[in-house]
């Protein structure tokens, strides 16, 4: 378009050719941009949003996991404490029991030792008494035979004399241990007196 022709031109009445060129220019841009550029950006926005949401979800999951682990540890700790207390109680009870047992055992042992000692004592005493009784009998007879000078021919008489003598002896020994406070002596000898 030359300049002289332009003088008469109204700027608000553009030539059709220019409109078409403008339309094509814009159409190309609009097509490419609406098909290849903006969808990509939309997709990026979407991906970014998802990434952020996913990250938040992951963080939440991790937090929940940590919380669960903490709970578990706490439970285990409480359990362990409980167990320790139980073990301590059991040990204490056991110790008590052992002590009790030992005490009982010791008492039994001492009782047994005492009983055996008394038995032995009683048995030796019995033995001594028996021996003495035999010796004293024969000694007394011999002595009496010598002192009196006569032989006691009659058995019955002799036995009567001995018994009398022994009874006298019993009476002597009975008064002596009673004075000494020995209870066992009289119970041992008293049946002899009835013989």
């Amino acid at each position: 378009m030359d300049l002289t022709a332009a003088e008469s031109v109204n700027p608000l009445l553009p030539p059709v050719g220019e409109i078409i060129v403008g339309l094509i220019t814009f159409a190309i841009l609009a097509f490419v941009v609406m098909k290849y550029v903006f969808p990509v950006i939309e997709k990026t926005f979407q991906a970014r949003r998802e990434a952020i949401e996913g990250g938040m979800e992951r963080a939440e999951a991790a937090q929940a996991e940590a919380k669960a682990a903490l709970e578990q540890y706490r439970a285990q700790l409480a359990e362990a404490r409980n167990e320790a207390a139980q073990i301590r109680d059991a040990a204490r009870a056991e110790g008590q029991q052992i002590l009790e047992e030992l005490r009982t055992q010791a008492q039994e042992e001492s009782a047994r030792i005492t009983a055996r000692g008394e038995e032995q004592l009683a048995a030796s005493r019995q033995q001594v008494v028996n021996e003495l009784r035999g010796q004293i009998g024969s000694m007394a007879v011999t002595l009496a035979g010598r002192v009196v000078g006569e032989s006691l021919e009659d058995d019955a008489r002799r036995r009567g004399t001995v018994d009398r003598f022994l009874d006298e002896l019993d009476g002597m020994s009975a008064s002596t241990p009673a004075a000494a406070g020995t209870t066992g002596g009289s119970t041992v000898y008293s049946p002899e007196g009835d013989r």
Binding site: P11, V16, G17, L23, V33, M34, F38
Partner: protein, 277 residues
């Protein structure tokens, strides 16, 4: 030949003018000589430097957008971040806030509009180009007509032809006698004035901006060569400062008009997708 150089040559030509006065730029500014002319199906096509500028602007923004989103990452690099921020502005601050829940369908179109207008507007101050294709009425008109077709089609699809016409012609809450006045105005507004003002607003801003820049630039050149008894030459720096100031003002206009055009488109689409009251 750039438009400024072209203007400069005409100014230098003025020197031989008998009066020797300042010849202000005319509408010829917007009708540079054709680089190529041809005719297809009886329609004359004339490729001028302004046409080429629109191709360069469109190709540049297109290339940037495609390259910036070729390999997207969750954590964006500079170009991708810039692109995402730009698209977010259109998608969220214009699309979602104005159109409402159905914005996803229209956000890409709004984005295409915004970036096309922005890139072409920007040509008005980029050195060596220094004229915006948007100061040619054909370009804003194309966009306005597309928007016009879009919001009418969406309206008819959503409300039916009858419902749409009724909603426009008989606005709710208007007393019936007033409809005599209101109905023609509303119909005229919806079907004639809207697309026209949409196109003219963008066109006129860029047209006037270019004229202002040319006037002060030529004024500077003219005053610099004017060593007369009135000391006209001392006013050359003021003319230059004014040209500089108007250039910064033009930056504002470039972004604002792209934004306004897109917001208005979104507003019209909002009216189209909303159910009848």
């Amino acid at each position: 030949m750039t438009s400024s150089a072209h203007a400069l040559s005409s100014v230098l030509a003025v020197e031989s003018d008998p009066g020797g006065g300042f010849v202000s730029p005319t509408i010829e500014e917007f009708y540079p000589p054709s680089l190529a002319e041809f005719s297809v199906l009886g329609i004359d096509f004339s490729i001028t430097r302004i046409t080429v500028i629109s191709w360069i602007a469109t190709a540049a923004i297109l290339l940037f957008m495609v390259l910036a989103t070729r390999k997207t990452t969750l954590v964006p690099r500079k170009a991708q971040w810039l692109m995402e921020s730009g698209y977010s502005l259109v998608r969220d601050n214009i699309g979602r806030d104005v159109i409402g829940p159905k914005f996803r369908t229209y956000a890409p179109f709004l984005g295409a509009l915004f970036f096309f207008i922005l890139a072409n507007n920007a040509m008005s101050i980029i050195p060596f180009f220094q004229i915006s294709p948007m100061s040619k009425f054909a370009y804003p008109l194309v966009l306005a007509l597309l928007v016009y077709v879009l919001y009418n089609v969406v309206s008819i699809k959503n409300k039916g032809l009858g419902g749409y016409l009724k909603e426009v012609a008989v606005p709710p809450g208007v007393p019936i006698p007033f409809l005599v006045l209101v109905t023609p105005i509303e119909l005229l507004q919806m079907f004639v004035i809207r697309p026209f003002t949409l196109a003219v607003r963008l066109f006129a801003n860029l047209f006037a901006g270019h004229m202002l820049l040319v006037v002060f630039s030529l004024g500077t050149v003219y005053l610099l060569g004017k060593f007369d008894e009135n000391f006209s030459v001392v006013f050359a720096p003021f003319s230059f400062l004014m040209a500089l100031f108007m250039t910064f003002f033009e930056v504002l206009v470039i972004v604002l008009q792209a934004y306004v055009f897109t917001v208005l488109t979104a507003t019209y689409l909002n009216g189209a997708v909303e159910k009848a009251h």
